[in-house]
């Protein structure tokens, strides 16, 4: 990123109604392929935003850059008002050091398509790993917190099982508990039902619904489950070629899409179902 572009971004976002997540002219390229094209996206605190769109439209990249799993080439991402992969040197934004990255990452949790539970740990140990080793909680505190979350996702009775003994739906529920145990402000769900057998999708979407109704978490979700997205989202963003082609409330976007590409995509998805 050049210095001139740095200069045009605020060191931090201040004032009333600062969005919990804010993408400002964010560009991500893989070689010559542009995945995010000067993307602007705000997510308010407590809002549930679902990202839909054709493959390669940059949906997952939004979540991956937020989790700092992928770097960005241009622009600035703000989380809770503070720049994510940048930090202020007093006058301008410079690339963040490890300390800043770790501080910022503590605000974000993520669940993956393929769960990625740690295979050498039980469900409970998976949930306790972060609280004990990263947050520095005592084993007792971490255990209480983890057990409560495992109860919440309906996995309390399987807490001593290793992931290899759990079904996909069960693993994903443990993965959600593991992420929540870190008490993030923002939760990211990356196609969390795509790798599941149809009959267990409900147990995972059920947990997410519960989160939406009972907690004030800010959530970003990428999904192909249009019915689910329509039910629980505050807002749905349709991505096309690294930009937001159209967005609105679920009823607006699914019921009365304005843009031709949105219409095409939605009718293609409906045909597939």
């Amino acid at each position: 990123m050049t210095d001139e572009t740095h200069a045009s971004f605020p060191l931090r976002l201040e004032g009333a109604n600062v969005p919990m997540v804010s993408f400002r002219k964010v560009t991500k390229r893989y070689g010559s392929l542009v995945v995010l094209d000067s993307l602007d996206l705000d997510v308010a605190e407590g809002e549930m935003v679902t990202i839909i769109g054709p493959s390669g439209s940059g949906k997952t990249t939004v979540l991956r850059t937020l989790m700092t799993l992928d770097s960005i080439n241009d622009g600035v991402i703000y989380v809770d008002g503070e720049p994510l992969t940048h930090m202020s040197d007093g006058t301008k934004l410079v690339p963040a050091n490890q300390r800043h990255l770790r501080k910022m990452r503590s605000k974000i949790g993520m669940c993956f398509q393929h769960f990625h539970l740690f295979p050498h740990m039980t469900a409970l140990e998976n949930c306790m790993e972060g609280p004990v080793n990263v947050l520095g909680l005592s084993k007792k505190e971490a255990r209480e917190r983890s057990e409560e979350l495992l109860r919440m996702v309906g996995m309390a009775d399987k807490r001593d099982q290793h992931p290899s003994r759990l079904s996909g739906g069960q693993q994903q529920r443990v993965a959600i508990a593991r992420a929540l145990a870190m008490r993030p402000k923002v939760m990211l769900f990356d196609e969390v039902t795509s790798a599941l057998d149809p009959e267990v999708i409900g147990e995972v979407t059920g947990v997410i619904k519960k989160l939406v109704s009972e907690h004030n978490l800010t959530m970003l979700m990428v999904t192909h489950q249009m019915g689910f997205a329509r039910q629980i989202s505050d807002r749905v963003s349709f991505f096309y070629k690294g930009r937001i082609e159209e967005q609105g409330t679920p009823d607006e976007l699914f019921g009365d899409p304005k843009k031709e590409r949105t219409q095409q995509f939605l009718s293609a998805v409906r045909e597939a179902v």
Binding site: M67, T68, L69, R102, R105, S106, I108, G109, M110, F112, H114, H116, L117, F118, P119, H120, T122, E129, G130, N133, V134, Q161, H162, P163, S164, R165, A175, R178, A179, M182
Partner: protein
């Protein structure tokens, strides 16, 4: 002389040689494992200098003869003021040599742990060291155990070379008995069988046990 007479006369020396061989194997294995872990991790370092140091070590010790390395450590290093006792020179040479092969196993196993594991650990905000130590290495260990079993047998057999710098191991004793009795078939035959028995009935079962133990910890057994 019957084989029974041979054993009753030379059994004690063969036994003491076997003991030396086993002790040498254990110490050299400990050295090989430690240095393989260090060099394997160094080869994955983001720092180019650290990577190069490990690469040079692996190239030298994997690319040249163990016997010549042993001679270097025992006969040449004293010329530079580093004199090592022969047993020490023996396990250092064998440990460094097999450690070079082992470091490739460590590196390969770490790289073959699913990428998602790194990402999940990062998403929990774990530090680089925590990710490696608590998440990646335990899984890499399970992947690399079977090839380490092979390497341990290789290591046992490599220790025979220390007889050439007069460490009184099994091979050395067999050679000595042979040169005083000319009973080649008995001396070297016995040594051959003992190497096989140690590999087959000590090393292989221990490695299998370790594999099962680790698999149980992974919840796979």
């Amino acid at each position: 002389m019957s084989y029974f007479e041979f054993i009753s006369q030379y059994g004690e020396r063969i036994l003491s040689g076997t003991l030396i061989t086993i002790i040498l194997t254990i110490i050299a294995a400990a050295l090989a494992v430690s240095i393989a872990l260090i060099a394997g991790l160094m080869r994955l370092s983001p720092n180019r200098f650290v990577r190069s140091v490990a690469a040079v070590y692996v190239e030298i010790f994997r690319g040249t003869s163990l016997l010549v390395q042993l001679y270097w450590i025992f006969f040449v290093l004293p010329l530079f003021g580093f004199t090592l006792e022969k047993f020490t020179a023996g396990f250092i040479a064998v440990g460094l040599n097999l450690g070079a092969y082992g470091s490739e196993l460590v590196r390969g196993a770490i790289l073959s742990v699913a990428r998602g594991q790194w990402e999940a650990a990062l998403a929990l905000n774990m530090s680089g060291v925590q990710r490696m130590r608590r998440i990646i290495l335990p899984q890499a260990l399970l992947i690399m155990l079977p090839p380490w079993g092979n390497l341990m047998i290789e290591l046992l057999k490599s220790t025979a070379l220390v007889a050439l710098i007069a460490v009184a191991d099994l091979t050395f004793q067999a050679k000595q008995i042979n040169s005083s009795t000319f009973l080649s078939a008995q001396s070297f035959g016995t040594a051959l069988i003992i190497y096989y028995v140690v590999a087959r009935f000590l090393i292989t079962p221990s490695m299998r046990w370790l594999e099962r133990f680790m698999a149980r910890k992974m919840g796979e057994a």
